[in-house]
């Protein structure tokens, strides 16, 4: 498999010189997106996002937890990611890889810094100092590139379908009590760069062939997270151009939420 990657890289680059992609998409076209809301009943919120062949499940599970000692009045948001061995031949069991940690942190940053979830309003009434903890688990089920955008879409969708549970007699009762009161819809747009050619929503083959990658998360109004990846470089003008694209595509993606 990996040995074939080298040949695929040349093919992807040759096609792009002609302005084409292997799956006949336009350079700025996303693959087919579907969002399945609330596939799980064991979690407060959940969603499966399919982006072409890439499939990501995100669960948003909410528990009563002790706050961090230095922030006693803030709720807890925790994002974790598993690149499951069933998603890709080279994903392995064991401690989280660099890639999975990066993915979790990029998704977490987008959601956290957007302040869409108001951590200051998550102290539990009558909870003796306990606060709500929202656990986002990102499960990559099938991998064909761009798990960033698929994960952010699924994470956002899972939060939108979640509610805070009830809290009675010192215990959590897993029934919806109060909406999360999200302030905005965070989405991310990932672009692979091949010199002057920019490819939105890269497939796996495009990802490995690209010089660099950038993920830009936005709310309706502002940027909320960015992450550049891979060896290649970008100029300031390129970045600015990509930000415009991220806002434009962001509006498109938000329509799915």
């Amino acid at each position: 498999m990996e040995i074939l990657d080298e040949i695929k890289k040349d093919y992807v680059r040759d096609l792009l010189q002609k302005g084409k992609r292997a799956d006949d998409r336009k350079l700025d076209e996303y693959r087919k997106i579907t969002l399945e809301r609330n596939p799980l009943s064991s979690a407060e919120g959940s969603a499966i996002c399919r982006l072409g062949n890439t499939q990501v499940l995100v669960s948003a599970k909410i528990d009563a937890v002790e706050p961090f000692a230095d922030r006693p009045t803030e709720g807890v948001l925790s994002t974790n990611c598993e690149l499951l061995p069933l998603a890709f031949p080279a994903f392995e069991s064991g401690p989280p890889s660099e890639d999975s940690i990066e993915l979790a942190r990029v998704v977490d940053r987008g959601i956290r810094s957007s302040e869409t979830l108001d951590l200051n309003s998550m102290v539990i009434e009558g909870g003796e100092g306990k606060v709500w903890g929202v656990y986002l688990d990102i499960y990559v089920l099938d991998y064909d590139g761009n798990f960033f955008d698929a994960s952010t879409l699924a994470a956002m969708s899972s939060l939108m379908s979640a509610s805070f549970p009830k809290f009675e007699d010192g215990k959590v009762i897993h029934e919806p009590a109060k909406p999360l009161g999200l302030k905005s819809k965070v989405v991310s747009c990932t672009v692979s760069n091949f010199g002057d050619k920019k490819v939105i929503d890269p497939s796996y083959d495009e990802e490995i062939a690209a010089e660099s990658r950038i993920t830009i998360a936005t709310t309706e109004e502002t940027l909320c997270a960015m992450q550049k990846g891979k060896r290649g470089s970008l100029t300031k003008d390129e970045v600015l151009g990509l930000i415009d694209i991220a806002f434009q595509k962001g509006a498109e993606l938000r329509a799915y939420l």
Partner: protein, 251 residues
């Protein structure tokens, strides 16, 4: 296992909490070939259980010292997601329980997979429990069997599995989580579909020999129903692909 303080009435007029008879399975939905990257895959819903299983291989066996010159080696990974149950968010990663289950499930498939056809290789089976409601190992085995067939791995037979339990002194098949919590015994059983050979058998709780015999009969009877659903799911893949329809959504 074990009791709580507020034990619900588990048995009313011969019917169980969810209205099932003693020998009635929960609804089972199986869909094969749901992942594009894996060589074979299966998504299975069994009551409130939701399982994703996938197979990679036969492929090169790594590390090298595990190579069997005469047969394929089988690797199994059974994992419970941290969000699988209504209880609190659990720790990710292997537990002692999932390690044990991975082992006994591997032994099931070592029986039916014809490993001699692919000496020196590895066949990797992954089972992810996305949502749990009692009987996840049996659901995982049932799903993995389909993922193996979907991958084209040669097998003597399909495998199906189901648990029998004891509630209030009565045997009943396919416990849900709540029954499991208050039941007196739990006996997961996996059988080969054709010969009804028992490939996995675990038991905890107090049982007489007669009860064990009855439990095995119940599991074997139920296996025919599960097998029929498995066959249907495998044939559905063929018709789905033949009709050239875009794949439907999972669930």
């Amino acid at each position: 296992m074990g009791g709580g303080t507020n034990k619900p009435v588990l048995f009313v007029d011969g019917k169980r909490l969810d209205g099932r008879d003693i020998d009635e399975l929960r609804p089972i939905k199986i869909k094969a070939s749901v992942l594009h990257r894996a060589n074979g895959s299966c998504y299975l819903e069994w009551g409130e259980n939701k399982i994703m299983a996938a197979v990679f291989g036969p492929r090169e066996c790594i590390p090298r010292h595990r190579v069997d010159p005469y047969s394929a080696v089988i690797n199994c990974r059974y994992r419970m997601s941290p969000f699988a149950s209504l209880d609190e968010h659990s720790k990710a990663g292997p537990s002692r329980r999932s390690t044990e289950l991975s082992k006994v499930i591997r032994e099931v498939f070592e029986n039916v997979v014809i490993g001699s056809k692919y000496p020196k290789t590895a066949i990797d089976i992954s089972m992810e429990v996305l949502q749990a409601d009692g009987g996840t190992r049996c659901a995982a085995i049932t799903a993995a069997s389909i993922a193996l067939a979907d991958a084209g791995i040669p097998m003597k037979d399909l495998v199906c599995a189901v648990a029998v339990g004891k509630i209030d002194g009565k045997l009943a098949i396919d416990f849900s989580k709540i029954e499991d919590n208050y039941g007196n015994a739990d006996i997961p059983i996996a059988v080969s579909s054709r010969n009804k050979e028992i490939l996995l058998l675990q038991m905890d709780g107090l049982m007489t020999k007669d009860e064990m015999s009855q439990a095995m009969d119940m599991a074997i009877n139920a296996s025919d129903k599960i097998h029929a659903l498995q066959v249907e799911a495998l044939k559905e893949v063929y018709t789905r692909k033949a009709q050239d329809k875009p794949d439907e959504q999972v669930s």
